[in-house]
């Protein structure tokens, strides 16, 4: 029903625009050049990009394996998406700080309360989002063709690289999904990497910190940047969908 869509879109737009009535728009725009805001924006884009690459590299072969059928692995791998993000973050925090193996990894990679922790938290939470579309895409390729190719000696990475061509549209959509989820990640990140200004301060964490300290102009500026980024990602995603159809 189109009228309902218009009403809901208008309400959401109203809520967004009303932010600019709380503080002067020029104060909000001025904040865009604030070092803290720029740090949060840069850190968000960098960590989300790394997480996206990491997730897609791991999700691609995993989804291929799962497409052959697995009743137990998929729910387990998808768990971080269904659990509260703070619970995922707490699990990772306890693992990396209180267990022998986790502490060993942490001593090498400095995950807890530092930037690598952001990447880990974003990756763990967004990984299931890539798994499902990629698995569905792999399922469209007939199992017998894959068996035939294996019988000719084509297997492993060589086979996967050839199959990539057939699922590249799903791969692109999944990448955007993972990137946008990583950008928006807060609960797991703040628990594992902490909310430390100019260190682990991504856009959502910066919103949280500035909301706590009452800097409303900065908060609104950060919200505006987040909304513009999300809008850009959605626009690219929609354009890809149009191109595919």
């Amino acid at each position: 029903m189109k009228p309902l869509a218009y009403v809901l879109a208008s309400l959401w737009l109203l809520a967004l625009l009303s932010l600019f009535t709380v503080v002067k728009p020029q104060d909000v725009f001025g904040m865009v050049f604030n070092p803290e805001v720029q740090y949060a924006l840069a850190l968000s884009i960098i960590t989300s990009s790394i997480s996206t690459v990491l997730v897609m590299l791991l999700a691609f072969p995993t989804a291929y394996e799962l497409s052959k059928g697995s009743k137990f692995l998929e729910p387990l791998l998808s768990l971080p998406n269904a659990m509260p993000p703070v619970a995922v973050g707490a699990t990772l925090l306890i693992f990396f700080s209180r267990t022998y193996l986790g502490s060993l990894i942490n001593s090498l990679l400095h995950i807890v309360f530092s930037i690598p922790g952001l990447v880990i938290a974003q990756s763990v939470v967004s990984f299931p989002l890539a798994l499902k579309p990629l698995k569905s895409a792999f399922k469209t390729i007939d199992e017998d063709v894959i068996l035939a190719l294996r019988s000719y000696g084509c297997h492993g990475l060589r086979l996967l690289s050839k199959l990539f061509k057939g699922i590249k549209d799903s791969f692109k959509s999944a990448s955007l999904l993972v990137f946008s989820r990583s950008l928006a990640e807060f609960g797991a990140s703040v628990t594992l990497a902490g909310a430390i200004r100019f260190k682990t301060e991504t856009l959502p964490i910066a919103i949280y910190l500035n909301l706590e300290s009452g800097d409303v102009a900065k908060v609104i500026s950060l919200i505006a940047i987040s909304a513009i980024l999300a809008f850009l990602i959605l626009s690219i995603s929609m354009r890809w969908e149009v191109d595919e159809s």
């Binding site: 017998d144 035939a148 190719l149 019988s151 000696g153 297997h155 057939g166």
Partner: protein, 199 residues
């Protein structure tokens, strides 16, 4: 290829046990649901199987364990989609062999489609691509699932001729519904649901 006490199938459905030897061309026939296509999948290592398979004196499956499909000296052409639809004929052929045998493609009538995506070909043309891939793969045994389905009646003998000419010294197992193919086969395995007999 020698197959002994071979059972195969899926969780709820099991076929066999079968024992047979392939010396030249073996035709596998039987009604739908007799396990013909599943037999080929099991021989190539795609589904669960128990028993013994030997090719050229080398055991490739014994008991529950067997070599992976890529390690077996067996090439398999499935019934439905024998090639990756979103790749061109040339790209598909390169997956089976490092070199493209243009004479073989010419004989099969698909040379002109080398740069065409498989998805754009007819069922019969796709089947020819699959056959070309299997023949190019230099494997000792060819498993062909309904190799003549989709191929027009006047071209069937030509395709059979190419398969037989190009696979000299190899064993062929083909699943078929066409009785007229029997004259090209050395032996016939007639499968019945659950039970089977070698004639």
């Amino acid at each position: 290829m020698r197959v002994k006490d071979f059972r195969y199938g899926y969780r709820s459905l099991e076929f066999g046990p079968l024992s047979f030897e392939v010396n030249g061309v073996l035709a596998v026939m039987g009604p739908n649901g007799a396990g013909k296509s599943s037999l080929l999948r099991a021989l190539v290592g795609g589904i669960k199987a128990f028993g013994y398979i030997e090719v050229d004196g080398k055991v490739i499956h014994n008991g529950k364990k067997g070599l992976k499909p890529e390690k077996r000296p067996i090439a398999y052409v499935p019934q439905k989609d024998p090639a990756i639809p979103f790749l061109t004929v040339e790209e598909n052929l390169m997956l089976a062999s490092k070199e493209i045998d243009e004479d073989l493609l010419d004989e099969l009538g698909i040379k002109k489609y080398l740069n065409v995506k498989v998805a754009k070909l007819s069922g019969g043309q796709r089947k020819r691509v699959g056959i070309a891939m299997a023949l190019s793969s230099k494997k000792k045994v060819l498993l062909l699932d309904e190799p003549l389905s989709g191929i027009d009646p006047e071209s069937r003998e030509l395709v059979i001729d190419v398969i037989l000419k190009r696979s000299k010294g190899k064993d062929i197992v083909w699943v078929t519904h066409f009785e007229d193919v029997l004259k090209f086969s050395n032996s016939v395995l007639r499968l019945q649901p659950v039970r089977s007999n070698l004639s």
